[in-house]
Symmetry: C2
Subunit: 525 residues, 2 copies
């Protein structure tokens, strides 16, 4: 094509505005909301001043643009201050997944190249074991009985610290995915990417139907950890909008519910496991939690769970994304009168998100958006992720008639059996819809005759005492109506107290597959 | 400073996402809303197809990336299609202010360098007079009795036309400001700037309090023309959100109100003059217009007018911006229980907007934002606009305690008298608050003794018959309470049928000043 005309006749002093994280700080600061954390309350003016002081203190401490600063903390105002101050210096914030095994945490810290580590006293022993073997030059500790190094930094810092402009493609944050195979993989996001994610997410969540939306007057509390994909980006959104924010420390259902009540929390996000716990506590205490809108991600939101949530006053709706996607790319919503199922789909793409279902790849969902990681720090997996110029999600999707995305399964969790594809997700939903089933997970195990065979794991819940026979019969009944393939009837159904989970709360299907193979009798194998 | 680390370890095929206007088209298209214009109804799927066909048809016609395509039309689906199709080709959309004098229209067309002109049959005579003297190579006509050239282009175009990616800093739109002095000045906006304005505006208007906000389910109709600063950017917002949109053609109060009722319009924007007309018609017909949220700009929203609007069911709120600013940079809102005055301020900055009040320049409001014109096509004024690296608005502002911006006056409209500064805006508000006054405008005229003296122009309205004496007494009374300087009491108050206005509905103070000087008697001069 011929060339478009670029902005060229610009004034000598015209400001070329780079999209930097510091621009998300509300200006002037709102005066009617606050940030609550660790029993303290900060006005936005105080918060913005602390961000300046923290950055100044870190710079005095020797942190420079291009350095990596790693943080190990629970959800706190400190973490929020780090979300801003570290990238605003031109440094890189590495959010450390503290739920990984110590060796894996060591791996992620080493790969991040962090020269500074900020850690909560709860991780003192871990830090003592790891730091000597890493290239970490300085540590800052807080939260214990000794002098609070973080507060000392803030106090020593300059409230008028001036931030320089730099290239909006500078890396702002890095962290590691928690894949169930191989080492964690490092993803990275630039200032530009985070600013665009924040704007698109803010425009989307505000435009949801009443009861499923966020307003500036809502009260926000994260319940997916801040070390995990920027707590889904919501702390940046809440700060940009000047909302009241509540940071709950280490997660504990009783504390979360107490904060919800005391601070009037109305908007949160979590994985289905946390939602399950909240519902159970609310039921036990017979409390109504309305109004509380809850974005659910990490794994699929079962319809039954969304219905139970509604019964205790929580409007649950599904978001969809991955560590690689910054994370939010779609969000579900339901119209008045639509069944709760509408909110259990991946939902509608955010502005600027370009989705496609690649039928040549078994219906894999592929993406373009301005905020997707441009690769992994190890290049091999990067090229597979971006094969053909689109990000491969590894999820199989369908587009409903109304334009909403529905995730059918993980590409690797589809069970190929008897020449048919059985969706483990569909089978799990079917089992979870049975009275007496609290949770269910399905994996495929190798089978000489059928290629693969499904095996289910079930956690019993309130209601009738389900058995392997009763559940197999329920699946058979659905197979007879054609709702599911007859090959989907599981070979074995194991009952357990709880499903094994990864550090971020996803069902650990790798572990389940090993258990299923080990317990498969010669007769069925 | 040391250098931040840029995104560098990117996958070979990672997609570097440019912020292009084509990305604002909703994908997949929403199925439950439509675009209404010229008595026709288009689904979003049909609209998106027409955008592709139109671009393809223009390309077949010879339009290339880098070319300028000028449009002269009333508000229509065609204009909306041009908002997308022309920039998506890499070409530049010049929106022609058809309310300027013919010579001025010729000036703007010549400066734009347009090689293609699309015009409505209503402008046939104008085009016939102008085109021969300009470098226009091709014209497309529509709306008349002859063959519709626009529809022929769309029909001939390819529905699967593929748009190429290009630099996000490519110019997407140009148009001319309508300053009251000198020739119109050309401003220009890139794809990146318009995408960022759209995201920030969408996040802002959705996050307003209930009744002052936009939801995806609202019905949008512009009432500031599409030739004027992208109809304040709202057509891009409404399209991105997939809202129902209504385009009213040439403005006429009866048609606007009929469309409001028939199509269920709930969100619009206009200048105070149009709001005034709507209120008058609504009163005459004794109809309640609720729900209707109205963003007001172009000139200040008087409190009395906002109150009258509320009485007929319209929630009016002020936005602030200029042709140079893309345009929206701040938006007002009121909390429950706050007086209507809160919504008459310029309001709160949009995300990413950096405001400052420059006390060294008499309190001038200066700006940085990612969507401000980088200059004028004539360079001299550009450097003044961007003096010191910030855009100079020419408006004097104050920041209220709650962080909202209040515009005190135009820098050039401040009246310096007796060593004091008198705000013409404040004096106008005071006059308009009097019963019997419909509109008021104040200008300063040269005075040998006092440097300048204020002169008022008043349009009488419903209520008691005000006189020069009664109004001067009213101002004196306020001066005695200290609410306004005693130097503010106007030397003369002229009564007129209507205030002279510029082509975009602003009071023409240049004309008023000339009248005031001409009619000043030797005794007062």
């Amino acid at each position: 094509m011929t060339q478009p005309r670029l902005l060229e006749t610009v004034a000598a002093e015209a400001y070329r505005y780079p999209l930097l994280i510091r621009r998300l700080l509300p200006q002037p600061q709102t005066t009617d909301t606050e940030i609550v954390s660790d029993g303290r309350r900060f006005s936005y003016a105080a918060f913005v001043e602390r961000v300046h002081r923290l950055a100044s203190g870190l710079a005095q401490h020797g942190v420079q643009a291009g350095d990596t600063v790693a943080v190990m903390d629970w959800d706190s105002h400190r973490y929020l201050e780090c979300y801003f101050a570290i990238p605003m210096l031109g440094a890189i914030l590495q959010t450390v997944n503290v739920r990984l095994a110590p060796a894996a945490i060591g791996f992620t810290l080493r790969q991040s190249g962090a020269s500074t580590l900020l850690y909560h006293d709860d991780f003192k022993a871990l830090a003592a074991a790891l730091v000597p073997a890493l290239g970490i030059e300085r540590t800052v500790t807080f939260g214990g009985t000794a002098t609070d190094g973080f507060e000392a930094l803030v106090e020593a810092g300059d409230r008028d610290f001036a931030f320089a402009d730099f290239d909006e493609n500078a890396i702002a944050t890095t962290f590691h995915t928690t894949g169930t195979t191989g080492d964690p993989k490092q993803v990275f996001f630039s200032h530009r990417q985070l600013v665009l994610h924040t704007l698109a997410a803010a425009a989307t969540i505000a435009n949801q139907p009443v009861g499923q939306n966020v307003m500036r007057t809502d009260v926000y509390m994260p319940m997916t950890p801040m070390f995990h994909v920027h707590a889904w980006g919501l702390p940046y959104v809440a700060t940009m909008l000047g909302m009241k924010q509540v940071y709950p420390g280490r997660y504990d259902p009783a504390t979360l519910l107490a904060l919800k009540r005391k601070e009037g929390v109305t908007y949160s996000h979590c994985v289905p496991t946390i939602l399950r716990m909240l519902i159970d506590v609310a039921r036990k205490d017979a409390v109504d939690l309305a109004p509380w809108t809850m974005m659910i991600g990490g794994s699929a939101l079962p319809e039954a769970l969304a219905q139970e949530a509604e019964d205790v006053g929580i409007i649950a709706l599904s978001g969809y994304g991955m560590s690689e996607t910054g994370p939010v790319v779609t969000l579900a919503r339901s119209k008045p009168g639509e069944p709760v199922e509408a909110r259990c789909r991946a939902g509608f793409p955010l502005p600027l998100v370009d989705i496609a279902v690649d039928h040549a790849c078994g219906g894999e969902l592929t993406l373009r958006a301005p905020w997707l990681t441009q690769g992994y720090s190890g290049q091999d997996a990067s090229n597979a992720l971006w094969d053909g110029g689109r990000l491969h999600t590894g999820d199989i999707a369908e587009i409903d008639a109304d334009g909403a995305v529905r995730i059918v399964d993980r590409l690797k969790d589809v069970i190929k059996t008897g020449g048919e594809w059985v969706s483990s997700l569909e089978l799990e939903s079917l089992l979870m819809a049975e009275d007496g089933v609290a949770e269910a997970a399905v994996v495929g195990i190798p089978d000489a005759r059928w290629s693969e065979r499904p095996v289910a794991f079930v956690v019993r819940g309130a209601g009738p005492a389900v058995t392997e026979g009763s559940l197999r019969q329920a699946v058979s009944a659905r197979a007879q109506t054609g709702a599911i393939s007859r090959y989907a009837i599981p070979d074995a159904i194991h009952f357990c107290e709880a499903l094994p989970r990864t550090s971020v709360g996803k069902v650990d299907k790798k572990a389940l597959r090993e258990t299923a193979i080990a317990s498969a009798s010669p007769a069925t194998a």
